[in-house]
């Protein structure tokens, strides 16, 4: 019964999406206040009904209603409650419900929080949001209904892939989708602006919080996924340039470029049509990611062809959405004239360089991800494009970008003084050189590349501190006044400083963990000792440690440094009888400076176990840096100027626009 109600709720949401996609658009062109206001009502209603459908699906999972095919295929009665719930979005149909739920959430948020938007603009934004919802609800109802019943109902379910039974992974998809799908709002804002033929600083201010919110969520979502891969997959890697990872990384890169170019629109009213194009591309890449992951095309073009229904549908969605928005863009964008002029050396130019490099990097990832598919589709040779390609092309694009970051963020608008900025950054430059020299001298695994990586990291972090010191006039205007300035520094300034420092920490983490990982692979029996990166590791043998829905053997390791015990680590080899699959839980001891990462492998003989020991320097900095970057975005998001100043200004602009029209 509840499943049928869930299905009904989806149908009603579809009907409301139809209303949302049409009436407000008509209302906006006729200036009809009632028709325009239907947009908000429909958006909120759509969110309510999709929430009900989502709740119905979760209910089916929680009570283990195996008469629902989706629950039967992806759950089991003995699974812990958390994983019954997270299992709901650990599959194709369920993850689509989550996708449209978040889309509707953003639509409803625009309806509720967008009170300061001019009515026609808001109506058009919501209508575009409605059109996207319409496409995906139709996709779900026609090809991927999560509420299909089985008769007779099976006694128990098939279970969930055990490597997905993990708290990090329960959170990962919702976070990732908040980012992915969140860019739909910026996309809808861009579409509405194109329809109205007007993009200005106020537009950039309206779009800014939504873009930031999506970017922050996507940043955290990707970090969570990579952290999970690190601790769950059992060999200490954290990024694989896998097509599915790339699918989320491309919108992140494009979204980062968008954040930066939107600042230029906001401050200087130029780069308008480029920013609109980026807004379209960012969401298009999110859609493409959904297509790549959901259609099975990644495994092979031929797998796609054998079960074409879903793939063709979502490909059609993709073509309509991207093609339609680009067509609208090419029709309307030429009428948008840029305003502010700027010199080759200026903040604007620096942000343009940022965009050039980030856009090229996005295109490179796209090219590498799709190239094998293209060749395959054209009946060319089957090739693989793996990490070596991405490292060889992506890294050279990122290095100049990172070098430019501290300089660009200190250049003045319109016309900057490069020499002055470089002189102001001399402390950061000194820090970078010092770090490179010290690392080369004192860390034995530091080669030239690693030394350069650390220098870049120091340059970014010290550059941010340098920027902060300059902004508050440290050592120039007296300490008390500097403190006052520090307290008065706006959120967006903190955002830049914090996010760029986080980037530096991330670079340090990536450099250290790629260049400095030590590894020992050997067989050990209880009582054996070995050493890795200066630590002595004693294997204490294996005990049984069964869990709620799995059997496990737990190996214990004691790591000591200079005779002193620093950590006891447990690594488990688990077997899930329902799913018939093993998983590995690494034993990890994390400090600020290094991770000890020990993995118990198979039994190689009586009492003799294969073990893998890793020493990963600075690896926690990768996620620490990413989280700090996200927090930087958050600082910028809570900048009070965007909350208090906007409504007044927006209205006055709206009136002006109305008068012009």
């Amino acid at each position: 019964m509840i499943a049928e109600l869930g299905h009904l709720a989806l149908v009603l949401a579809f009907v409301l999406a139809l209303v949302q996609a049409s009436l407000p658009m008509i209302g906006a062109s006729r200036r009809d206040p009632f028709l325009m206001s239907t947009g908000s009502t429909a958006a909120i209603g759509q969110f309510v009904f999709i929430s009900l459908a989502f709740a119905a699906l979760i209910h089916g999972y929680v009570v283990s209603d195996f008469s629902i095919e989706n629950v039967f295929l992806n759950s089991h009665s003995t699974k812990p409650l958390l994983y019954k719930i997270s299992g709901a979005w650990g599959n194709h149909e369920g993850s689509l419900v989550l996708w449209v739920l978040i889309l509707a959430l953003f639509g409803a948020a625009v309806a509720v929080f967008g009170r300061n938007l001019p009515a026609p603009f808001k109506a058009r934004t919501l209508a575009v949001q409605g059109i996207i919802g319409l496409g995906f609800l139709a996709f779900m109802l026609l090809t991927s209904n999560p509420f299909i019943r089985l008769d007779p109902a099976p006694l128990d379910g098939r279970g969930l892939n055990p490597i997905l039974q993990d708290p990090g992974l329960a959170m990962h998809p919702p976070m990732l989708y908040l980012g992915y799908v969140g860019f739909s709002t910026t996309f809808s804002f861009a579409m509405a602006a194109l329809i109205e033929g007007r993009v200005d600083a106020t537009w950039a201010r309206w779009a800014r919080p939504w873009t930031l919110a999506a970017w922050i969520s996507l940043t955290f979502g990707i970090a969570l996924g990579s952290w999970w891969a690190y601790y769950e997959l059992g060999w200490g890697g954290w990024w694989f340039w896998d097509p599915v990872e790339n699918a989320s990384f491309m919108p992140w890169l494009a979204g980062t470029a968008l954040l930066h170019s939107a600042i230029v629109v906001e401050k200087r009213e130029t780069l308008k049509s480029w920013t609109i194009l980026l807004a379209i591309l960012t969401f298009s890449l999110s859609l493409l990611g959904t297509f790549l992951v959901r259609s099975g095309v990644l495994t092979s073009v031929h797998a796609f062809a054998t079960d074409p229904e879903r793939g063709v549908f979502i490909l059609a969605l993709l073509v309509v959405a991207i093609g339609g928005s680009l067509a609208l863009y090419s029709w309307r964008a030429p009428s948008m004239q840029g305003g502010g002029l700027f010199a080759p050396i200026s903040r604007e130019s620096a942000l343009l360089l940022n965009n050039l490099l980030l856009a090229t990097a996005t295109a490179t990832v796209l090219l590498g991800t799709l190239y094998p598919l293209f060749l395959d589709a054209l009946a060319g040779p089957k090739i693989s494009v793996g990490p070596p390609f991405f490292n060889a092309t992506f890294v050279p694009l990122m290095v100049p970008l990172l070098v430019a970051v501290p300089i660009g963020s200190m250049l003045a608008w319109k016309r900057g003084d490069l020499r002055g900025v470089v002189a102001r950054l001399s402390a950061a430059g000194l820090a970078a050189v010092l770090v490179a020299v010290l690392c080369s001298l004192y860390i034995d695994w530091t080669g030239t590349a690693a030394a350069l990586g650390f220098a870049l990291a120091a340059w970014l972090v010290a550059g941010s501190l340098n920027d902060l010191a300059f902004r508050i006039g440290l050592f120039r205007i007296g300490f008390a006044r500097s403190l006052e300035r520090l307290a008065g520094l706006p959120g967006s300034a903190w955002g830049v400083i914090v996010a760029h420092a986080g980037l530096g920490i991330l670079v340090a983490g990536i450099t250290a963990s790629s260049a400095g990982q030590s590894e020992r692979i050997l067989t050990m029996k209880a009582g054996d000792e070995t050493d890795i990166a200066g630590y002595t590791v004693r294997f204490e043998g294996v005990t049984n440690a069964d869990g709620p829905n799995y059997e496990a053997r737990r190996g214990t390791f004691v790591a000591s440094l200079d005779g002193e015990v620093v950590a006891r680590l447990h690594s488990e080899k688990r077997f899930f009888p329902v799913e018939g699959r093993p998983t590995t839980e690494a034993g990890i001891d994390t400090t600020l400076w290094r991770d000890l990462y020990f993995v118990l492998g198979d039994e190689a003989g009586p009492g003799l176990f294969t073990v893998r020991l890793y020493h990963n320097p600075l690896v926690i900095w990768i996620w620490g840096g990413t989280v700090i970057m996200g927090l930087g975005g958050f600082c910028s998001l809570v900048d009070r100027r965007f909350r208090i100043g906007v409504p007044r200004m927006a209205q006055s602009h709206a009136v002006a626009a109305g008068a012009r029209a």
Partner: protein
């Protein structure tokens, strides 16, 4: 993100978990083993979803790891090992595709795009020229206002 990979793997009822190299495969000569590892990272486990042979538990990956080590021990250069594997399994086995007719677009693409973008930016800047004259010095009024502003800000 690996989550969804895992998911696809699950949905397609395909293959194994990660791990890779086991102790019995490791060569006694550390230099040779190091070469085997760096080769292993750029060779694809053919039956897996985008994993290198060093990361995979699949039987085929193990066979390939052993094969690579046998070739290296018999004196092959890294390139000879790659050629041998390409002859047996096709270019699909290489995670780093070789530069050739079918891949020049892939390898040249990023740099061509960067160049095209740079030209685009250059055109944009030329169409929006900025007079390079020095701004006129501040008048006394402006100077006074600036001072006032600085006092207000502090």
């Amino acid at each position: 993100m690996r989550a969804i990979v895992a998911l696809i793997i699950m949905l397609l009822a395909a293959v194994p978990s990660l791990a890779g190299v086991t102790p019995d495969e490791i060569l006694d000569d550390p230099a040779l083993e190091e070469r085997a590892r760096s080769l292993g990272r750029e060779l694809r486990c053919l039956v897996c979803q985008n994993q290198s042979i060093d990361d995979s538990d699949a039987d085929l990956a193990r066979d390939l790891r052993i094969l690579v080590r046998e070739r290296l021990e018999s004196g092959d250069s890294d390139q000879q090992v790659r050629d041998y594997l390409v002859a047996r399994y096709g270019e699909f086995v290489l995670l780093k595709p070789p530069v050739q007719a079918s891949t020049w677009l892939l390898w040249a693409g990023p740099f061509a795009l960067l160049l095209a973008g740079a030209v685009g930016v250059g055109t944009f800047m030329r169409r929006h020229p900025v007079g390079m004259t020095e701004p006129s010095p501040l008048s006394n009024d402006e100077r006074a206002r600036l001072q006032q502003l600085d006092i207000d800000k502090a």
